[in-house]
């Protein structure tokens, strides 16, 4: 792998940037692999990377039906944070945030990871109680979290309306200073390049259409490019996880819903933190290009179309304009949607399945971008060792039968 550095930039400038190596190969699939990962989003690519890097698995392929990062990884609003309420969730998201803090260096790819701080607004007395409770829980878990009064919020975000007569009065907020954003395309490309550099075959345009099993154990996958033998198969297909599960005769507690985001025309810098509000289902940040990047709540009905409902969009835009009246005349540039796999307790499912050698990592729903490195790390462990890591043990499929759900609707209910 060609190392990216100031020197390589200078050297390539001399040849008019015409001699850069491809960031990753695009090989044809081999007849078989030790491990096949289905889904070339961030989670699948991170899993493949850590399988080789941490567990020395011999041959690994990532099969992606479209292009790398074409799923939710390249469609999200880029929010990264770890201030979740329950211990189980807090631990895995904080583990992931710590990986983020070193990831740009580790994979030698500028992820534009910016810990610009993240505010979660409270608009009612109950919101404030929930926020205080979550701050205390975060602090007990060693996660930075603090409370801001409306005056402190106004100081940090001058564009926001904190007047008591506002449609959604702002009574306070929690702040996670280590939270922020990171460029999502960079994450997909950086991880594809990192996985490729340790020998993973990242294969595009290769849709898995069947999961072959023999005597209760997985033997390989049928794909649009033929049968590929596999010792183990890890499915990381987000919104399409139910489709993959049915190929193996399984049912999952998931529903696939559209989730929308949009950007405005570029503006001069006006907002240098992330602002989100669970109550009004909207969140906003400003990208380095100057666009206001906003997201809505999840749509109310199932949909795989990567298209959202205009009613949901309108609601979120109205809420943002109420909070930032001066944005009312900003023009919208683009709008899009992804298909998110929502789980009843707003927590992921990561672990073994009743089929030997078949593993699932799904259910991240509206908020799995931030967890990409951590999720890949624990999933690689789970696949390599054939047992969950301490961090993902609570997120097994069995929790729905035992009743040990981890209700993160308060901290994760809205998207991001």
């Amino acid at each position: 792998m060609q190392k990216y550095s100031f020197l390589s930039l200078a050297r390539n400038a001399l040849t008019y940037h015409e001699n850069w190596q491809r960031a990753w190969r695009s090989p044809d699939p081999k007849p078989g692999y030790d491990v096949v990962i289905v889904g070339g989003g961030g989670h699948g690519l991170a899993t493949a990377y850590y399988l080789v890097k941490e567990h020395r698995v011999g041959s690994v392929a990532v099969l992606e039906k479209g292009y790398v990062g074409g799923g939710n990884t390249g469609r999200n609003t880029e929010i990264v944070r770890s201030n979740y309420l329950w211990d189980e969730a807090a631990h895995i998201y904080e583990f992931s945030l710590k990986l983020w803090e070193g990831l740009t260096q580790q994979i030698n790819f500028n992820l534009m990871f910016s810990q610009r701080g993240l505010l979660s607004l409270g608009h009612t007395l109950q919101d404030l109680r929930d926020i205080q409770r979550r701050i205390n829980a975060n602090l007990l878990n060693g996660i930075d979290s603090e409370f801001l009064t409306p005056e402190q919020i106004k100081e940090m975000v001058p564009a926001i309306d904190v007047s008591p007569r506002a449609r959604y009065p702002i009574l306070g907020a929690s702040l996670q200073r280590r939270g922020g954003t990171a460029r999502h395309d960079a994450l997909a490309w950086g991880l594809a390049r990192a996985a490729d550099s340790v020998g993973v075959d990242v294969i595009h345009n290769c849709e898995v259409t069947g999961i072959r099993r023999e005597g209760g154990a997985v033997t390989g996958v049928d794909t649009s490019r033929g049968f590929i033998k596999a010792g183990k198969v890890g499915c990381v297909t987000a919104g399409n996880s139910g489709v993959l599960a049915s190929m193996a005769g399984m049912r999952l507690p998931l529903e696939s819903r559209p989730l929308q985001a949009w950007v405005s025309q570029p503006l001069k810098p006006i907002l240098d933190v992330v602002v989100m509000s669970n109550a009004v289902h909207a969140y906003i940040s400003q990208t380095d290009r100057g666009e206001l990047l906003c997201g809505a709540g999840v749509d109310s009905y199932n949909g795989y179309g990567q298209r959202g409902s205009p009613a949901t969009l309108e609601h979120a835009i109205a809420a943002i304009i109420e909070m930032f009246p001066r944005f009312s005349r900003v023009r919208m540039l683009r709008q899009w949607a992804g298909t998110v796999d929502t789980c009843p307790d707003a927590c992921p499912i990561i672990g073994l399945t009743p089929v030997k050698g078949l593993y699932f990592n799904c259910g991240w729903g509206t908020g799995g971008y931030k967890s990409t490195p951590g999720s890949g790390w624990v999933f690689a462990y789970t696949i390599a060792q054939n047992r969950p890591h301490r961090l993902n043990e609570p997120f097994s499929l069995e929790r729905f039968a035992t009743g040990h759900l981890i209700d993160e609707h308060g901290a994760a209910g809205v998207a991001h």
């Binding site: 139910g242 999952l252 009905y301 179309g305 729905f400 039968a401």
Partner: protein
């Protein structure tokens, strides 16, 4: 935006309706005889169909009645609408 045909009120804008999940889920008559896994399946697992999906909608801002809809979850096209108690269209396992 979906245009949904309430069987009682006719075609109305999506925003008048509330989605109420997969249709034809029957509550087990003898829950005490089910294993935890079977109960979890009833409670949490869904077909989550990619394609023709049978689902319930409620005309929340209208007549407030529930009914069933057959909708393609990829194109979002509504294929048929039928009242509770009426058989679903087509063959179903």
């Amino acid at each position: 935006m979906l245009l949904i045909e309430c069987p009682w009120c006719g075609p109305r804008d999506e925003s008048e309706f509330a989605y109420s999940g997969e249709a034809h889920i029957v509550r087990p008559l003898t829950p005490e005889e089910l294993t935890d896994e079977e109960w979890a399946d009833y409670l949490f697992c869904r077909r989550n169909t990619r394609g023709d999906h049978l689902e319930q909608w409620c005309h929340a801002s209208g007549c407030r009645r529930y009914f069933n809809v057959q909708r393609d979850t990829v194109t979002y096209r509504i294929k048929s609408v039928y009242k509770p108690g009426e058989p679903p269209p087509g063959d179903r396992p």
